[in-house]
Subunit: 331 residues, 2 copies
DNA sequence: TCCTTTCTTGCACACGTGTACAATTTCATG
DNA sequence: CATGAAATTGTACACGTGTGCAAGAAAGGA
């Protein structure tokens, strides 16, 4: 219409300023929180901006602020339904707080390095890591570069790196006592403790509790905490009548494996899982499990992130996510 | 060490140039594909960059190129395992092609507008939409702004908006014939056809095939295609001995509902689903279903995206994703 | 009316990069 | 050696924005 602005280009603050009859600074201030603009000016600017379809270029804003609205979300193992829930909660809450989540799937340990490295090119506001194998060196590099970083359910204690960890002690203890209460006398824990921090910790707490109560218990190690390994583990449970699977995903496999062998659950073998994924409540499983509230956990993680953005020099913190027992049919 | 660069700041191409004893343009060219730099210069620059821990600022690059590496991924209903698979595949493949996926969960129709609108601030390279309710007006606005946009399994035909759609005709036909072959004579389709395009199309194809074969068939409408509605739908199947659920997520609920009522599957009622989610292969379900290859689908979508980035003025295209029958125990 | 205080506004610089253009160097060829 | 072509390099501008600073306007008090 006006023909002033260059044709195939998106309108800039210059275009809006000219149309509104004000300076470009006034436009910038209109769209910057806590900036000083008179109501009349603001109104003129907003009107012109709407007419032109103007949007602030956040790339340019991020350039000058030396900080973008992006938050890296490093995740792996999305076949596990719990991970899917986690990612949904995290991204929803980030968006609600006006961050933009960059989702980085990092399944193969090698690629995790490469992929996380990319984040350093974007001046991200922070990073959330739920991957099982966060490269410690790289995490430290982020922290050193002043990028807030929060690990969820991970082990490594790194200076200036905050963590959110689910209450593994309570989980292990509740699992043991619940199985015993249900009448089990020969317990087992199925766990890939070599690769997963929380699996290792839950296993340790479970064993400690069993020993304290002088209960018979053994460890069934698996390679990965997934359905297939749970299914296979059912073949190795002779003489066991109570099983703690370190996550529900694997517990579903275990139950299916037991049923295939004709073993009655919970009559012959009691099973307890962890996470309370949707499938745990499904009619075919009715799995007794430990609810890990991943919506609360997401809030905790983002709170840690934002508080460190405000005070980068803080000492690192560890936040504990509470677990609660969900009684269903399998124990 | 050198003390030249400002302290607490990340090194810039200036710092690298000074240290390498070259111009800043040489640094830029070193990190720009297809730019002309001599091997010696490149080596000096790379060395200096490594020593300083320099990373190209992609925000600045995106500013001058008028295009960022970001691709918006709008998704909803991540409780459905198929959606989780989809998102995993899409983000993995995007990252592999050097894009950065911005994941935007858009469950409530109202928020989808707001959330997608945000993308226009980032000069994204493109947008992938798997949400059930993509705001048509907004999609058109993206296309008008020259942002490539691809809808996955969505209805609306919009100028310059490409689409990937799973082969609903084959799916519906295969579902009907497979149920009939398995001995079913009184068919039903369970579907929330009001809110989901693919559900509606699959239902139509299923009904058309049934009518062509003069088979008895009825429609069981539900509000949402999820587990809970599948579970409830099992109460409304009197006289039915063959059911097509428009997705596996709901089929799992339906089977659990039938079992709860003591109905034998597949002896009394045959069930067929769609998507081939991991749970369909689980021992408790053994669900016969239609595999929707979401890895291939992701490739198709990204191919459409990149080809339109190269040629923005193309007429809109529709790519068909093939489905294949996976025979298991329920039909 | 005059002075002081508070608000608002515009100018100009900075953020970190890509690239057109011209200047320079390299190199093969006659 | 002369010459033209090709490759490399540096200068300078552009991308679109936030904000310090000083100047001006408005408001309030004596």
């Amino acid at each position: 219409m006006s023909g002033q602005e260059k044709p195939g280009r998106k309108p800039t603050s210059f275009d809006v300023a000219r149309r509104a009859g004000v300076s470009r600074a006034a436009v910038s201030r209109t769209f910057t929180p806590n900036a000083s603009v008179s109501p009349e000016t603001r109104e003129k600017v907003v009107k012109a901006a709407k007419e032109l379809g103007y949007r602030v270029n956040y790339l340019a804003r991020g350039l000058i602020n030396r900080r973008s609205d992006f938050v890296g979300v490093v995740a792996a193992g999305m076949d596990n339904p719990f991970r899917a829930m986690q990612i949904e909660q995290i991204t929803k809450k980030l968006v609600r707080r006006n961050f933009r989540p960059i989702l980085l799937p990092a399944d193969h340990g090698e690629s995790a390095d490469h992929v996380m490295d990319q984040l350093l090119h974007y001046n991200v506001s922070g990073v959330l890591v739920t991957s099982d194998a966060p490269p410690t060196a790289l995490c430290a590099e982020f922290a050193a570069a002043g990028v807030p970083i929060v690990l969820i359910n991970k082990a490594d204690a790194i200076p200036a790196v905050d963590r959110v960890v689910c209450d593994t002690d309570t989980a292990g203890r509740l699992a043991a006592t619940t199985l015993l209460e249900a009448g089990a006398r020969h317990l087992a824990v199925v766990s890939a403790s070599a690769i997963s921090y929380t699996a290792r910790r839950r296993q340790q707490a479970f064993l400690a509790c069993c020993h304290a109560l002088e209960a018979d218990v053994r460890v069934i190690p698996v390679a990965v905490n997934d359905y297939a390994n749970g299914l296979a583990a059912a073949e190795r449970l002779d003489g066991v009548d109570g099983v703690f699977c370190v996550n529900d995903y694997m517990a579903c496999g275990l139950i299916d494996g037991l049923r295939r062998r004709g073993v009655a659950v919970p009559h012959s073998v009691r099973v307890i899982g962890h996470d309370d994924v949707p499938q745990a409540a499904w009619g075919s499983y009715e799995l007794t499990t430990m609810r890990q509230p991943c919506d609360l956990q997401a809030d905790q993680a983002i709170d840690l992130l934002t508080s460190r953005m405000a005070e980068p020099e803080m000492a690192e913190r560890v936040e504990l996510t509470p677990v609660t027992l969900v009684r269903r049919a399998t124990a």
